[in-house]
């Protein structure tokens, strides 16, 4: 190597540490994790606008250091010095984050964002500080509150401040803070108030009294959130059971096939979703977010086609021997599971929630409704409507009902029973495929996916009354809600056992399920 260049490098090496020492970034880069944490705490208490890019880069985990511990920011694979204009020596390595630092970074970031132009950003920052504000930030918050002109942000800041003012020396300040906390209904407020009341921490009688009222108020609000949450989770579980069982309600309920391969149709629907996701990531990455929508028709047709093929080749020969369909479909199910295992591997495959199905809607401080679950509830109702329309408003539906009610009579009237059977079985399988798309959004996609839903599906159909779509809907939601009412009381395991016992007892009362077929036919 050129000696001149060598010298230059040597010089740089000597000068760089000096040049960099001035900045926060360099301080942070050199510090030990414990020191880094203290630095972040001090930054959170005394924000400086020029530090914001550094904190944002740190939070996004884009800060790297080279051999000299000079900090760089990584942008699209290139490195740019955070302070000065140094070039990295060697390949820079990413600075390590851990959960403690991430939490402190969030708080520091929120502190800095209190100065943002955009009120929405200030509001988010204030809300963040309601949860994680530190006593050292008291002064900062007070100061920002005085300077704030947006009403919503002021309100959020007042609340963030109230959390910290519970230990204020002035009883009047404490009293105001206590009153404010009662109105929020945040889970943290309850704990803070409880702590205040416990161990005689609060000495002022007026504040104590106010705290008691506030606590009761907070508890009431939390209870409402909890009950709403339970109702929602019951509905959500019900909608999932319904989607899992609806296809079976047709293949088993209407056609009378004890379809043990139903679970595998769900599984195939989920794997189709996976394939669609992979293909779209490769062919149309810009539209990837909508892959579940594309997967719906694909999954429907794939599983419907497989279902029809099975009907033509195997199940057709077994009508009138319902119990033997159990044996054949069990065989089919074994083959399908192992086929998927050989093709895709025994491990689960990754089906990611797209952006619009991730996260949730914060309704109350203690109630978040996940988007994927809300969409699935809507989707379940949509599929039910679709099925109902198909069965009751179309010629195919009329024929299906005719064939399932009286095969011979229907055949006499010129209904092509063979074709109708095939179509109906295809429809049931297709709907199971749709269910599979929905299930892929909340659970794992693996060869055994179907096995975990098959028992529940049969329970739903039987409890509702075989051959009764409306029954299946009631049974699914009933089971979902009952399950979610029992679970918080006695735990998930005993809850499930109790539900099974209740089903057994219930069938004693109504041996034909919820909605029994009415008729005078007797064998």
């Amino acid at each position: 190597m050129n000696t001149a260049l060598h010298r230059l490098l040597l010089l740089l090496l000597l000068v760089l540490p000096w040049a960099a020492q001035a900045g926060d970034a360099a301080d942070y880069a050199k510090a030990s994790p414990a020191k880094q944490a203290r630095l972040l705490e001090s930054w959170a208490a005394a924000p400086a606008p020029e530090r914001l890019p550094l904190i944002e880069a740190l939070r996004a985990n884009r800060v790297a250091i080279d051999q000299n511990k000079t900090p760089f920011i990584e942008e699209n694979g290139a490195y740019r010095a955070l302070e000065g204009d140094a070039e990295p020596v060697g390949t820079p390595k990413k600075l390590r984050l851990n959960n403690r630092l991430r939490g402190l970074l969030n708080t520091a970031l929120a502190s800095h964002q209190l100065f943002a132009e955009d009120p929405a950003q200030r509001l988010a920052a204030a809300k963040r500080l309601q949860r994680s504000g530190q006593p050292e930030q008291l002064e900062l918050l007070q100061q920002r509150l005085d300077a704030e002109d947006d009403a919503a942000v002021s309100e959020a800041l007042t609340l963030a401040l109230a959390n910290l003012q519970l230990t204020a020396s002035d009883p009047a300040v404490r009293l105001a803070a206590v009153r404010l906390l009662g109105e929020t209904g945040a889970p943290m407020a309850r704990v803070r108030l409880e702590n205040l009341l416990a161990d005689e921490a609060e000495t002022d009688a007026n504040v104590r009294k106010a705290a008691e009222t506030s606590l009761a108020q907070a508890k009431r609000k939390l209870l409402i959130g909890e009950l709403l949450g339970q109702a929602f989770s019951g509905l959500s579980l019900g909608s999932i059971l319904l989607l899992a069982a609806l296809g079976l309600a047709i293949t088993f309920g209407l056609l009378g096939v004890i379809n043990m391969a139903h679970g595998e149709m769900l599984m195939l629907g989920a794997y189709t979703t996976y394939m669609v996701q992979v293909l779209m990531a490769r062919l149309a990455p810009e539209a990837l977010a909508f892959y579940p929508l594309v997967a719906l028709p694909v999954a429907f047709f794939v599983t419907a086609a497989i279902g029809m093929a099975l009907e033509r080749t195997v199940i057709r020969h077994l009508y009138g021997r319902p119990l033997e369909t159990l044996l054949a479909t069990w065989g089919i199910s074994l083959i399908l599971i192992q086929l998927v295992r050989v093709l895709f591997g025994a491990q689960n495959v990754e089906v990611a929630n797209p952006g619009w199905l991730s996260g949730g809607l914060q309704v109350l401080p203690n109630l978040v409704l996940p988007y994927n679950r809300m969409v699935i509830i809507g989707f379940a109702l949509f599929v039910v409507l679709l099925t109902w329309l198909l069965l009751n408003k179309t010629r195919l539906g009329l024929n299906v009902r005719a064939v399932t009610q009286n095969r011979n009579m229907a055949a006499c009237c010129g209904v092509p029973t063979g074709r109708i059977d095939m179509m109906a079985f295809g429809l049931g399988s297709g709907i199971a495929g749709l269910g599979g798309v929905a299930l892929s959004q909340i659970g794992n996609v693996g060869p055994d996916l179907g096995q975990s839903y098959i028992i529940d599906s049969f329970l739903v159909v039987v409890l509702g009354g075989v051959g009764q779509l409306a029954g299946s809907i009631f049974a699914a939601f009933g089971l979902g809600i009952a399950n979610k009412i029992l679970e918080p009381q006695i735990g998930a395991v005993l809850g499930k056992i109790l539900i099974l016992a209740l089903i057994i007892l219930f069938i004693q009362k109504r041996p034909q399920g919820l909605f029994a077929l009415k008729g005078r036919v007797i064998d």
Binding site: P33, A34, A37, R96, L97, N98, N99, R100, R102, G103, N106, P187, R190, V191, E226, G229, Q230, F232, S233, S236, L237, I240, Q338, R341, L343, F344, G345, A346, Q347, N348, V349, E350, V351, A352, N353, S358, G359, G360, Q362, N366, V368, P370, Y371, N372, R373, I442, G443, N444, G446, P447, D448, Q451, S452, N483, K484, E487, P488, G491, A492, V493
Partner: protein, 422 residues
Amino acid sequence: MKRRPLIKTTLAASALMLSGLFPFTLQAAETIKVGILHSLSGTMAISETSLKDMALMTIDEINAKGGVLGKQLEPVVVDPASNWPLFAEKGRQLLTQDKVAVTFGCWTSVSRKSVLPVYEELNGLLFYPVQYEGEELSPNVFYTGAAPNQQAIPAVEYLMSEDGGSAERFFLLGTDYVYPRTTNKILRAFLISKGVPESSIEEVYTPFGHSDYQTIVANIKKFAAGGKTAVVSTINGDSNVPFYKELANQGLDATDVPVVAFSVGEEELRGIDTKPLVGHLAAWNYFQSVENPVNEAFVSKWKAYAKAQNLPGADKAVTNDPMEATYVGIHMWAQAVEKAGSTEVDKVRDALAGQTFKAPSGYTLTMDEKNHHLHKPVMIGEVQEDGQFSVVWETESPVRAQPWSPYIPGNDKKPDYAVKSN
């Protein structure tokens, strides 16, 4: 009986014919049979299939270097189909019909408990590569996975440390079976000994295959309002995906409530979108991301093997802790056989004591002189966006296993060496 029956039988047949024709070609075909007892179908196939492949790769590797005692190893693969009585049957078959010198296998504790009486009766040798709850020490088993003190306790110590977030409250969540129950029992005793009050520990269990975590995540949130909380998860395989999905969608991220898992590794993360999970933790004795030359060779060898064998998902092949434990176990056995000069179980057992091996984890692992467990380093890894873990904490040196946890009453009377249970 063998991996590629047709090819192998043709080869064997032609070898037989050749040796008949030319009596001088001396016993080149003589092999040492090695049993592989992992479920390839049923519920456990998800985890065990890759261990079977790893075992085959390791055997190929040893064979390529000339085998053991100058003989080639011949793998005998059977499928116990996630059916526990079938494990015992297949174990007996491997020992009495195939006369294998050693068996590598089992994942669940119940499968190990099922074959254990067979191995003790027939004096066989089993290498068990998975972390488990301890409370067992058989002379016929070598445990290359972690005992609770090599995984669970260091993980909780980390959570309580400053870097781990100084957790004060612990939500112990598991699937309702023996491993989580025992681990949580040990953890509870440990936490109480560290001054954590009973009211700050919550234990919740779900049935097998549970997929609806709405109520539980809501409860975690409620519990977490009371102070710095960490979740210790012993949720079993398939239930992890719905749990993590629910966690992310309900807006609970790792900075608020970190989850440390004992059964989630690289292989499990392949089935999960990890972007919302960054920061959640796992405790193991090995991660694929560990940087050292042995591991680099190990990982690239495995990737090449997966591609060459056309394993499903080979383009995304990953290594994980039980795979490393399998790899280490087979090599240690081979070394011990060389040392003993024989495959006889009693001699190999003696030779295994104190055996060392430079493992992909970056440490030289030692088989304990007495208790049939490896001394293993403990590492805490953080989930990254790419489905790998980055190690955030590790022990300074390998930790000796305590199969009989001191946190379970009565264990102080148990001997620290292997004794036959009958």
